[in-house]
Amino acid sequence: MDVGEEKDLRDSLLMELRRGTLVLSVLSQMGTPKYGYSLVQSLEEKGVVIDPNTLYPLLRRLEKQGLLKSQWEMGGSKPRKYYQRTEYGSEIYRELKGQWQSLAAGMEQLWKEEL
């Protein structure tokens, strides 16, 4: 495997690993209304990097699935679309969080055994 292929493989594995955490990361931040770019920034501050070109389509998808709701605010300097978790979204978020915790505990166990 040459250097380019190795890098591609590494990138695609990393992307796959991160993809699964994105929905959970986004849902975690949506208890209060947020607009797209503020979400990019707040996630970035917490060490979760997400490209805007991934986040915006994801927000629309989650809205379509009924996990988020949105509202346009026209009052400011420019129109902004604010997203917030729906009740159903909060329910799903709690479920996902529980699954994540048990998954993380399982992974921790696996790494302990590895040592």
């Binding site: 607009y35 797209g36 770019y37 805007p52 915006y56 389509p57 902004r80 799903i92």
Partner: protein, 373 residues
Amino acid sequence: MNKRDRDLMERYIYQVVRRLPGEQRKEVGLELQELIGDMWEEAEAAKETDTPGGAFSMDEILIKLGNPADFAKKYQDDAHYVIGPEYFDTYWWFMKIVLVGVLISVLFVGVLEGCREVSFNLDTPDFQILAGVIAEAVAGMIANGLVSAMGAFGAVTLIFALLERQRIKMDIGETAKWTARELENAFSGKKDGWTPGHLEPIPHKKALIKRSDSIVSIIFSVFVCVLLLFAPEVLSVVSRENGQWVSVPAMNLAEWNRIYPWILLSTLFGVVDSVIRLAVGHYCKTVMLSGIVFGGILQTATCIAAFKTTTFLNPDFIENCGRLLGEVFAENREFLAYWNIETVTNVVLIICLVVILAEVAVTVYKTLRYGIE
């Protein structure tokens, strides 16, 4: 934001939204305007405070957002296929067989037509006329080949595309609304509502429909269709009259423009039936239903319509043959006296219907015997 930057932003937004469904365009356009505006404001602020690592110009912002085509792709929830992976292999195989069938038929018809034309002109000593006849035959063959190949390609693709849409509809119908309860199952790999009891039994060996079995029937259908479309005149009685070659066609060429749409339609129904058989792969209710509807009812209706609304066979065939064949005709006068255009048409129609119904009967028998557990 200066004019150039605004122009770049608008171009970028246009390139994303033009790839999206109409109802999404306006809102996504506004969202992107908001996003790029926010990134631009952030870049301006970073410029003032000299923050390293930020995107500072509109160019850099748009580069960070990436190719608009890729951005638009992320807005599309599902992969869109004309022919999806499930059918693609069968589609490609079927397409190759049909195109090979078209190639063989066009070559055969072209050579036959060419020989016929050349033999009619053999008495002509002029080489130039002969060369012209040959060139015309070759050009006709190429033109027929292109028209048939494009028609076959379009028809086969359309049939598979409709099948694909139908499959997606069925899949959607089968998928229950996603609930939070499924979350647990998703992690454990289970799927609600599905148990091993849903596993269909492996089809009986004799219920399997092999691709190899279909090759001959597909090529034969394409061959008959191409022959009747492009060279119905080869089905003729040929003889010499007054030193000239004369042919009496068995088909009613004067009415052929009204007849050949029926032939096309009948072939199309046959192809739809073959495609469904191959896509499903074994005799079952779906294949039986397809056989009854496409192979049976529709083909029967097409045949009856073709034979009853048009005069399929040449009404002057016997009269012209009598004039052309003279003595031979006279020797068989007793036999040929029974040759009445209506009777012959009915006999040919009955033969066609028997063949159609026999195929339906085989499908129904195999399905009931081996295909339904």
